[in-house]
Every structure is written in C-alpha cells, then in structure tokens.
C-alpha cells in the first residue's frame, strides 16, 4: 500500500498532499481530548500492522487495518494514518517523504468512507448483523485503497484496469484477513467497551 519515491508525477503528489492536509485538519479539529489516547493506540496498531506480511502473489502485501481505524476513530483516522505512514517511511523505508501525502490519502480516505458506511450499523444493530458489517468494513477499506492506488498508477502509464486487477487480486487475502480482524476486534470491543463505538457517532 506504499508507493515508492520516484514513481508518481508531481501533480499526483501535490494533489495527494493537499487532500491529506485537508483531511488531517478536519481530523485534528474533530479529535477531542478524551479521544487522544485511543488515537495513539490505534496509530501504533496501524504502524506495526504493515510489518505483518501476507505471503501471496508476485509481490509483497501486508495488513493495513485502515478499516479498523476508520470505524473507531472517524476523521481522527487521518492524523493517525499520517503519523503511522511517516514513521513507516522513516524507520522501515516504506514509501517515502515525497509520497507521504498520497500514501496517507490512499489509506485514510477509505477509512473515513467505511466509517460513514458501516459505523452506525455496527454500533446499533444486533451482534450477528454487526459482525457481518464489521467484516465488510475491513474488507471494503482495503478494496477501496487498492482501487485508489490503481487510480494513482494510471498517471505513470499503467492502465487502470490492469493495475486494478493486479492490486485487487494481490490484496484479496488481505481483505479477507482484515475483515476477520475487524470483526473480532469489534466483537471484543462491543463486549468490553460498547461506548467506544457509540461514542464515535456522538462526536464524529
């Protein structure tokens, strides 16, 4: 999910950076004082998730967990993912400094979309439906990220359909795994801290 330096052209990089800046601004504004520890813990989870490789296909793919961040944090997922991606770039050399904006947007935008698509349902429906929705949330967040990534690669000369096919196929196991992870995490949270899921809708 991390685009390397020197792959994308300047207009794509600038657009990505601008969109990320806007998202982070909204996220910081919506981030309450009480929510900061939550954001910190989920940022750490996101940061290490990229080290968990799913061995498949001709390339290397890893867990993203952006669905989980979106559902719990809402807009605060933007600053969380920005910090995570920045540190992954600095410490693991994933992605790079110039692609920071694009990479953050690719992972954070689907998180926000999933928050609005599935958030309400997961918080209020009975547990069976909620589990299915949670799985869908994890699944779609990665799917949307793959499609966004394919969209960015169009400008490098790769055709969208070809890039999208490769990306979606490679990330299929990740989508399923993330769906399961999000479902289990939310099932756990609903038992232990149901207000964590409800609280996000009151604020964001």
């Amino acid at each position: 999910m991390h685009i390397s330096e020197g792959v994308l052209s300047a207009p794509v990089l600038v657009t990505g950076a601008a969109l990320t800046l806007a998202g982070v601004a909204v996220g910081l504004k919506k981030m309450d004082y009480e929510k900061i520890p939550q954001v910190a813990v989920l940022t750490s989870a996101f940061f290490v998730a990229s080290l968990i490789r799913v061995p498949v296909g001709p390339s290397a793919v890893h867990l993203v967990l952006n669905g989980l961040l979106g559902i719990i944090l809402g807009w605060a997922a933007f600053p969380a993912i920005l910090v995570g991606v920045a540190l992954q770039g600095l410490l693991f050399q994933f992605g790079g400094l110039t692609t920071l904006g694009v990479n953050t947007f690719i992972m954070a935008m689907p998180a926000i979309l999933c928050h609005y698509l599935f958030g309400r349902g997961i918080a209020y429906k009975h547990s069976g439906v909620a589990m299915v929705l949670a799985f869908a949330c994890g699944f779609f967040a990665v799917l949307l990220s793959s499609l966004l990534l394919a969209l960015c690669l169009i400008f490098t000369g790769e055709s969208f359909l070809q890039a999208a096919k490769v990306l979606v196929l490679a990330h299929l196991p990740v989508m399923v795994l993330e769906g399961v992870v999000v479902a289990f995490c939310l099932a756990f949270l609903m038992k232990v801290k149901p207000e964590l899921l409800g609280a996000t809708h009151a604020t964001g």
Partner: protein, 220 residues
C-alpha cells in the same frame, strides 16, 4: 464535557490489550516483514546479476529492470525471472544505475560502480606493458596471459560467491525490534505532546472564563 469524562486509564488499558492481541495473533500468521522492494546487483566476469526482493527475502518476480548510464541513457531493459533474478552482459564500462520497478508502485535502484568491472578492459595498457617486460624474461604468450586472467577471475568469482551471498542475505533483513519499539515510542510521545498542548489550551480557556465570571460578579 468535564462531567461526562470517562476514566482514561481503563480505555487505554482496553485498547492496549486489543492492540497487543492483534499484533501477537497476526505475527503468528507470518513472521516475515514487508513492504518495499530492494535491488542488489553484483558482477561476475563480464555479466551483471540483478536480484529484486522484498524484505524478508520474497523474490520480486517479473519486475521491470532498466539499466542506465551516468548520462541517463537507457542501455537495456529486461524482466526478472521467477527467482527475482535478471542478468546481462556489461553494456558499457561506466557506472551503471539499475532501476527495478515492481508492481503496485514499488521501485528502487542500485548503482554498480565502474570499478566493480575489474581489470578486464579498463586496464589493458598496464598488463600490456608488464607483458612486454615479462615477455623479455619468459616465454609467455599473450593468449596465456589472458587465459590466466580469465582463470583468476573465475576462481575469484567462485571464492567470493559465499561472501556475496552473505551480503545479499544481510541486506534482506527487515526492520529490527528497536526500530519497531522506537516507532511506537515516537507515536506515544507525539500524542502525549498533543494531549499536553490541548490540556493547556483547555486550562487557559477555563481560567479566562473564570476571570470573566469574577468580573461579572464584580459588576453586579
């Protein structure tokens, strides 16, 4: 807002358990790392070998390899095989920049300095001279000398192969534990700072409204 504040510790504790659970459970799935592509290239005789791989050692198969000279002219291109390897004959005795483009927006490069190509062609004048001298003292033929050189090169390649393999393997290691823990430390430090700043802002606002309240009381 202050009244309905929840105990932060139990939230934090719950989420820590959650985060640790995710990490432990999933590190069992696979203990190797991802997610950038690496390139390594070495010279054997007159051939340059290129290897593309991801951290953890998974090969970068069917990836585009392009070779550039220092002027930026593309000399040749090719694709890695199922072992993530590609090889080519040295096209030009200059520094070679090898750029590997994998799928999904991964890209990296590696520079083979001209000095790696050894003395096959870059130092013909010196052996020629020494040959001229040695020819006076012995009955060596030019063909013998180049044969000898070839033999030495081959022997060296064979002897150095394990060393090169060792270098390749060390380069494949993923992030270290200290980097991972350090990163988590940075995250907590950063958010701690954000909390501190926000709490100070809240306190200032609180004080200001308190002052205003006192002023209102004084007016009345």
């Amino acid at each position: 807002m202050l009244l309905d504040r929840k105990p932060l510790l139990s939230w934090g504790a719950t989420l820590t358990v959650l985060a640790l659970g995710i990490v432990v459970a999933l590190s069992m799935v696979s203990q190797v790392w991802a997610h950038k592509v690496n390139v390594f290239a070495w010279v054997e005789g007159d051939t340059v070998f290129v290897e593309g791989y991801f951290p953890g050692g998974k090969k970068s198969q069917d990836s585009l390899v392009e070779v550039f000279n220092p002027a930026g002219t593309k000399l040749l291109e090719g694709r890695t095989n199922e072992k993530g390897e590609f090889s080519f004959k040295i096209p030009e005795r200059t520094d070679l920049k090898i750029v590997l483009t994998s799928s999904m927006g991964h890209k990296n490069d590696f520079i083979v300095p001209a000095s790696d190509f050894g003395g096959v062609e870059s130092s013909p004048s010196i052996p020629a001279q020494s040959f001229a001298e040695s020819a006076k003292h012995s009955s060596a033929h030019p063909s013998d000398l180049s044969q000898l050189e070839g033999m030495i090169d081959r022997a060296l390649d064979r002897k150095l192969a394990p060393v090169i393999k060792l270098i390749r393997d060390t380069r494949k290691e993923g992030p270290t534990i200290s980097e991972i823990v350090g990163g988590i430390g940075y995250i907590f430090g950063l958010f701690g700072l954000v909390m501190y700043l926000k709490s100070r802002k809240n306190r200032e606002r609180g004080q200001r409204s308190e002052v205003r309240g006192q002023q209102n009381i004084a007016k009345q």
